[in-house]
């Protein structure tokens, strides 16, 4: 008897409360967002950005670039995404975009394969698919906006270190893990570039910090102990370069040993300001998002189909050409230094 009475009151209470919540939420949400979907007469310029996860400053910056572009060409911008970057977490958002019938989906893939089927289904529902930052298998999307090529990444780092140490002397590399495919490819290209264009620079050792802050910090200390003549360090990983900069900034080597590599402005700001680091490289995620949005527009309007050799206009960035495998290259990596670091927040 007790249970029956309790559950009756409970039932009434929860039904009323939850129904009210749902009414309020779906009501106000849809009034803000329901607008220009399903446009059939004109080109459907609604573009949805789907980063690896939300609340990530890097993707906040790229989405801001995308939004700027979408507003420029008069489309409708939306950003959705999971809170954690797990392989299958993006699938439901891709499905939602297909249900909404958006014009294009701009995705940074958490996994090259896991979201493929969902993207295929979205494509067959008429959604154009652009990947940026992190690609899927080429057959799962229309275009991939590549932030930088391996050659470009290797070259900019070698150029930066050569400039900073006067094109002569010993250098070392502080990488991520020994089996990180992309890092190893870059290091190989750096060695080729050094041999070809900088004969007076000697790469003495490649050490691995495992993308762990403390390990990278310790390996930096060990390098400086082992090679007293060391002139510079290249760290092609954002964790490594920040840890190395932290070590250098508190040691007698500050300003004596050059450091460059791939880093983010927020991590590196204080070391650029205190003179530990002169310049480092990465791509500009705002430009990446901006270009991806214009690529989406070009697909929607039929200006490009993803064929090699197609060209399209990308607002302030100028004209771009589609390369092999439906890839569009943003350009050379972006060099951050004391002059421009204040313009970035990611």
């Amino acid at each position: 008897m007790f249970t029956k009475q309790r559950s009756r009151r409970f039932g009434v209470a929860i039904t009323a409360a939850a129904a009210a919540t749902v009414l309020a939420l779906t009501g106000c949400a849809s009034s803000g967002d329901g607008g220009g979907d399903g446009g059939g007469d004109d080109a459907n310029l609604s573009v949805t950005f789907l980063p690896k996860n939300l609340g990530n400053p890097y993707f906040d910056t790229s989405s801001a670039g995308g939004q700027e572009a979408v507003e420029e060409f008069g489309g409708e911008f939306a950003e959705v995404g999971p809170t954690e970057a797990s392989p299958t977490s993006q699938v439901s958002f891709i499905q939602t975009a297909a249900q909404q019938g958006v014009g294009a989906l701009v995705v940074s893939a958490n996994d090259p394969e896991a979201i493929c089927d969902a993207l295929d289904e979205a494509s067959s529902a008429g959604v154009k698919v652009v990947t940026f930052d992190s690609d899927t298998n080429p057959e799962c999307r229309d275009l991939f906006i590549n932030q930088a090529t391996a050659e470009g990444i290797a070259k900019v780092q070698v150029d930066l270190i050569a400039e900073q140490i006067g094109d002569a002397g010993q250098i070392a590399v502080l990488s991520a893990s020994a089996n990180a495919t992309n890092q190893n490819a870059w290091i190989e290209m750096m060695e080729e570039e050094l041999a070809a264009s900088h004969p007076d620079i000697e790469l003495v050792e490649v050490v691995y910090g495992d993308d762990d802050d403390q390990t990278s910090f310790d390996k930096t200390a060990a390098l400086l102990q082992t090679y007293p003549e060391l002139k510079g360090i290249i760290s092609p990983t954002t964790v490594g370069i920040a840890a190395a900069a932290r070590y250098l900034s508190t040691s007698e080597y500050q300003g004596q040993v050059a450091l460059t590599g791939l880093g983010t402005p927020n991590q590196m700001r204080e070391y650029v300001e205190d003179g530990t680091v002169t310049a480092f490289a990465l791509w500009n995620p705002a430009d990446l998002g901006y270009l991806a949005a214009f690529a989406a527009q070009a697909l929607i309007t039929g200006e490009v189909t993803g064929e090699e050799g197609d060209t399209f206009e990308a607002g302030k960035l100028g004209s771009y050409e589609v390369g092999a495998d439906g890839t569009v290259l943003l350009g050379d990596p972006y060099v951050f230094d004391a002059e421009n670091i204040g313009d970035f927040d990611f």
Partner: protein, 357 residues
């Protein structure tokens, strides 16, 4: 005056009790917790159809059912386990391990059907381990399955590392994804409906099912009345492992992706849906139709809110609030009721004291 005063006290409570039992059957059925959840589900669907753009498309049905299928499947044995006042937190890890086994064996050239059956067997073995530790060794299932959650996930991730197997025979992956011809309903719903009916019969219409409620309400009393508590629980964990293994094979085919970290966190979604569906975490109470409505409610709510452009963190908050409300409000209302009864009692006592003086 003094002669009539004591009369109201003994009369009040039996009258209330009688009122509760004398309600017509239809009211007692409609006003259960399960009916409340089903009612809420109907309300949410109706509201979504009315205000959420694109919610009324067949695609919505397909995607929704496909995505919640693993939760629906695992919720069946989980309901039975929670009714006996136990819990299985290792289900998502078993899904991951089964997914990895499917991938590794397919990659090694096994026929897919054989790989899938082996993967399901691996799930069953994981269930045997859980069942053994809970019933034979006599450890609490919460502790055991937290342990096997980590252990099994560790094995799954260790076997495949960060790589993934993504090549599966087209026949099987189509089978997992395709709809029942002529409907927007995915084919996975067929095995689910069969299993759901089997579980409903088992739970609600057999002595075995009744023994689960008995165990949940009072383990010792159940034991004294001739129920083999240990053996019953053991088979529940084996069931849970086996079905999680099956869900792992489905998960793998659905996403074309065998990975060690597949379905991470799924156990919490399953348990949330089961509790929302009216199963008491303290055992002894719950029904399968409520649980199925609970899973559908969370699924529909998520789908509608995503379509309406609500971000995923807010969807998580809403689902969480709903769950907390459903668990907390039952105890809260009971507490309020106890307070009111004691207040009435005290008032009567005061009246009695006043009148007799």
């Amino acid at each position: 005056m003094t002669a009539t005063a004591p009369a109201p006290v003994p009369n009040t409570r039996p009258a209330r009790t009688y009122a509760a039992y004398s309600r017509p059957l239809w009211r007692r059925v409609l006003l259960t917790r399960e009916s409340a959840i089903i009612g809420l589900l109907v309300v949410v669907i109706a509201v979504s159809l009315a205000v959420v753009p694109n919610f009324d498309s067949p695609l919505t049905v397909t995607y929704l059912l496909r995505d919640i299928a693993p939760i629906l499947l695992i919720a069946l044995p989980m309901t039975l386990i929670i009714i006996t006042e136990e819990i299985d937190l290792s289900v998502a890890s078993i899904v991951g391990l089964s997914s990895v086994m499917t991938g590794i064996l397919t990659q090694a050239g096994w026929p897919f059907a054989l790989a899938a059956i082996t993967a399901i067997l691996v799930g069953a073995i994981a269930g045997v381990v859980n069942g053994f530790l809970v019933t034979v060794v006599g450890l609490p299932s919460l502790a055991v399955t937290i342990g096997t959650l980590a252990l099994i996930r560790g094995i799954a991730v260790g076997l495949l590392g960060t790589t993934a197997v993504t090549e599966f025979p087209e026949f099987w992956s189509d089978l997992a994804k395709d709809n029942i011809p002529g409907t927007p309903i995915p084919g996975i719903m067929i095995p689910f409906v069969v299993l759901a009916i089997a579980f409903a019969i088992l739970l609600h219409f057999t002595p075995f099912g009744r023994s689960l409620y008995a165990i949940g309400l009072n383990k010792d009393a159940a034991s004294f009345s001739g129920i083999d508590v240990g053996r019953t629980k053991f088979w529940l964990f084996v069931m849970s492992g086996t079905i999680s293994g099956f869900a792992g094979v489905y998960f793998t085919l659905l996403y074309n992706n065998a990975r060690g970290d597949n379905a991470t966190g799924l156990e919490l979604q399953v348990i949330a849906a089961v509790l929302l569906g009216g199963v008491s975490i303290f055992g002894g109470r719950g029904a399968l139709h409520g649980v199925i409505a609970g899973v559908l409610l969370i699924g529909v709510l998520g789908s509608a809110l995503r379509l309406a452009g609500v971000t995923s963190d807010i969807i998580n908050v809403i689902t969480g609030v709903l769950l907390v409300l459903s668990v907390v409000s039952a105890s809260l209302l009971a507490w309020l009721r106890r307070r009111r009864i004691s207040a009435i009692g005290k008032k009567k006592e005061r009246e009695l004291a006043a009148s007799s003086s």
